[in-house]
């Protein structure tokens, strides 16, 4: 017990008060002494975003990236750990937008940690994964959604916590099939990421026999944004009949303007309107209200996707250590990729990693701003192994050449 507390005090910088209180109570109450002590040191490397344009002033700007989710998970891992002699410590490396994340990695993380949670751009995630290639390191990517990182550019040592764009597009596609929204009008933003989501949507359309009747590129002009009313009326006046307008605008630069302004009255789905997400404030099923509450009390705001991903990353490590009683990275990595690994993620199904690309299989929430509309996989989409694998790249389609 004494050693657990020592480590706890040294490493846990934020919730020391709580763990201290807990620690002393445990000492007073528990007669169970863990036999030995395992300490798991986890590094977190996050690079802050360049300041984004905030279309909606009602949305609070969240500047920290996933940190608070990671801290909640460390705290929970340590509560469990105290019962069985395991302790978890998180060391955070937060670098500014213009700094070189690789340098920080080389100087402070390489050779010193076996476990790294990353909250980086896709390019930086890949760069760090390549630097870590010959090291005893498991990388838990809590930020990217890129399909390339899970296919041709996949890396053996990386696990991806957030659902890929393909998984999200498939979730949307399944719901569209259920609602018989077979004709899509696709509107794509000017950012490269928007094109990637549009590609995922096209893959989905092909899989589910959905027809993309028209595709238009939204090109930003100052005027267009100021006079959205007139502009969108004209922009959405197309010849073909369509059931839904599907928008790809990941940076939220124009998508919110579409609803209620289209020429024909049609629902908006995609990055705005009804959106496929890993986590959402409206989600309160399967015990989610419990973690939403815990997070909000500590963070003073709702949990976002990256918080959720960082939380899952560290909980996954905790679960693997608890089950294997080991902190050897190779053993943990193998266990996490095996079918014995099961993670509770407040989404109704047990979560696990796909051995072929390191992607966390998980249900996807289809949420409107104030209503949780559905959870994919949608009933009726079947799979011989697990229905969760109806979302995204299944083993036979995967382009990832990974050593399983």
């Amino acid at each position: 017990m004494y050693f657990i507390k020592q480590c706890g005090y040294l490493w846990l910088t934020v919730f020391t008060g709580l763990s201290l209180l807990f620690g002393t109570q445990v000492d007073a109450k528990s007669t169970v002494k863990p036999a030995s002590l395992l300490t798991v040191n986890i590094a977190m490397l996050a690079q802050l975003d360049k300041p984004a344009i905030n279309l909606l002033t009602i949305d609070p700007m969240v500047l920290d990236k996933g940190e608070l989710g990671a801290e909640l998970a460390i705290q929970e891992n340590n509560i469990t750990g105290e019962f069985i002699g395991q302790s978890f410590a998180l060391k955070k490396f937060i670098v500014p937008a213009n700094a070189n994340a690789e340098t920080v990695f080389n100087e402070h993380i390489a050779g010193k940690f076996n476990y790294l949670v990353t909250l980086l751009s896709p390019e930086k995630t890949l760069a760090i994964a390549d630097l870590a290639q010959h090291q005893a390191m498991l990388i838990l990517d809590a930020a990217t959604v890129d399909d390339s990182l899970r296919n041709t550019a996949c890396r053996d040592s990386v696990l991806h916590l957030l659902p890929s764009r393909a998984m999200r597009a498939d979730a949307l596609g399944q719901y569209a099939v259920k609602k018989r929204w077979h004709r899509w009008f696709l509107v794509v933003g000017a950012e490269p990421a928007d094109q990637l989501f549009a590609d995922a949507l096209k893959r989905t359309a092909k899989r589910f026999n959905i027809k993309i009747v028209a595709e238009k590129q939204w090109s930003h002009t100052f005027d267009a944004r100021k006079t959205a009313q007139a502009e969108i009326d004209v922009f959405t006046q197309i010849e073909d009949e369509y059931d839904v307008l599907v928008v790809a605008d990941e940076q939220n630069l124009f998508g919110e303007y579409l609803d209620y302004r289209t020429w024909s009255p049609r629902p908006i789905i995609g990055t705005q309107g009804l959106s496929p997400v890993a986590w959402h404030p409206t989600h309160d099923l399967w015990g989610a209200s419990q973690i939403q509450k815990r997070f909000k009390i500590q963070a003073g705001r709702w949990m976002n996707e990256q918080d959720y991903a960082a939380y899952l990353a560290i909980r996954a490590l905790g679960e693997a250590v608890t089950r294997t009683h080991s902190i050897a990275w190779q053993a943990l990595r193998n266990f996490m990729l095996s079918d014995k690994f099961v993670l509770q993620g407040y989404k109704g199904s047990a979560l696990s990693f796909r051995a072929w690309d390191g992607q966390l299989r998980q249900p996807i929430l289809l949420a409107a701003p104030r209503s949780l509309v559905a959870v994919a996989p949608i009933e009726g989409f079947l799979h011989p192994k697990t229905e969760l694998d109806t979302l995204g790249y299944d083993a036979p389609e995967s382009l990832c050449k990974r050593k399983e």
Binding site: F22, Q25, V26, K29, S30, T31, V32, E76, I79, T80, F83, I84, G287, Q290, K293, R294, I297, E319, T322, R323, V342, L343, Q344, G348, S349, A350, T386, E387, L388
Partner: protein
């Protein structure tokens, strides 16, 4: 002739359902109230407002008092079980989800989900005796019939914590499969039956060694493993049969205790949650969270004989003889 058949038929139905008159109280998580049901008549008698987000519900051993955990009001309310007039607020601690009552010494053990602890309350004096730290998100809680042990299951830590009632000390922790939800002691206090929602499993723990001694994985034809999420579990007094609610699989598994096999799967309402016996253990009642009803099961015939609509998100049940 036809009329006669109807009368005979009605007679058979009445004969088949000859439970002693009793009352079922059902907590309705999203209606802020409890439903009062007459199972004999198969009728919802009334709905009574109790407070915000009622979940855990139980009667005192003498059936004079009804306790309801109203989680979002951070208290457990005590009612006169006959009149349903409110008598007191118990100092349950934050976010009491559910609780267990000792039938021997009027102690109440409360799972405080947000604070990762179990509160011990003297229900007569209305005071907190102590709070015991356990794992993250404690939910299922039970007192052994011999009053020696309290077991608490923590959903995120994935452990069963053993608390000795003599000293209110946590003396052991058993690691179980992910998301343990509900647990119950056998009548002889020798075993604890625990369900794991994520692994779709039932685990049997030995109260002496605190180890898992047996496991049972549930399978239902035509239902994927992901939908089989065991929750409420009960073992009958004679320890012949046990019953496990399987959540979104919409079924209750009937288990032969002697050889630990599933005898039958009973189709009930959607997302079946907690279950309760009738006083004579001839009937089983289930709270079906998503179809907003309760199912009434005849345990001699092993048949679902009736369902009664009760309100939004029924969570738990208490049966008053």
């Amino acid at each position: 002739m036809k009329k006669c058949l109807y009368v005979v038929g009605l007679g058979v139905v009445l004969w088949a359902f000859n439970a002693e008159a009793e009352t079922i109280f059902v907590s309705l998580e999203k209606d802020n109230s409890i439903a009062v049901v007459d199972p004999l008549a198969g009728k919802l008698l009334k709905t009574v407002a109790v407070g915000r987000r009622p979940r855990g519900i139980a009667l005192s051993a003498d059936a004079k008092f009804l306790y309801v955990a109203v989680s979002d009001d951070n208290t457990i309310k005590k009612f006169n079980a006959d009149t349903l007039t409110e008598l007191a607020d118990l100092p349950s601690g934050n976010d009491p989800e559910t609780f267990a009552l000792s039938q021997v010494d009027k102690r109440m053990y409360v799972s405080n989900e947000d604070d990762s602890q179990v509160s011990v309350i003297d229900v007569d004096k209305n005071t907190v005796l102590t709070r015991i730290p356990v794992g993250v998100e404690p939910e299922g809680i039970a007192v052994s019939p011999d009053n020696k042990w309290v077991v608490s299951a923590s959903e995120t830590t994935n452990m069963v914590h053993w608390i000795e009632t003599k000293t209110y000390t946590r003396v052991a922790n058993t690691l179980v499969d992910p998301r343990p939800r509900a647990l119950t002691f056998t009548a002889d206090s020798k075993q604890v039956w625990v369900t794991s929602e994520m692994a779709g499993k039932l685990m049997i723990l030995d109260a002496k060694t605190k180890q898992i001694i047996k496991e049972l994985v549930f399978e239902v034809d035509g239902v994927t493993a992901e939908k089989i999420q065991p929750v409420g579990v009960l073992v009958d007094k004679k320890m012949q049969r046990a019953y496990v609610a399987l959540g979104p699989a919409n079924r209750i598994a009937v288990i032969n205790v002697a050889n630990l096999t599933v005898e039958k799967m009973l189709l009930v309402g959607a997302r079946v949650w907690n279950i309760a016996f009738s006083a004579d253990q001839k009937y089983l009642y289930s709270a079906n969270g998503l179809s907003n009803d309760i199912s009434i099961i005849d345990l001699e015939q092993l048949k679902v004989i009736r369902s009664v609509g009760v309100g939004t998100n029924p969570w738990g049940l208490a049966v008053k003889p």
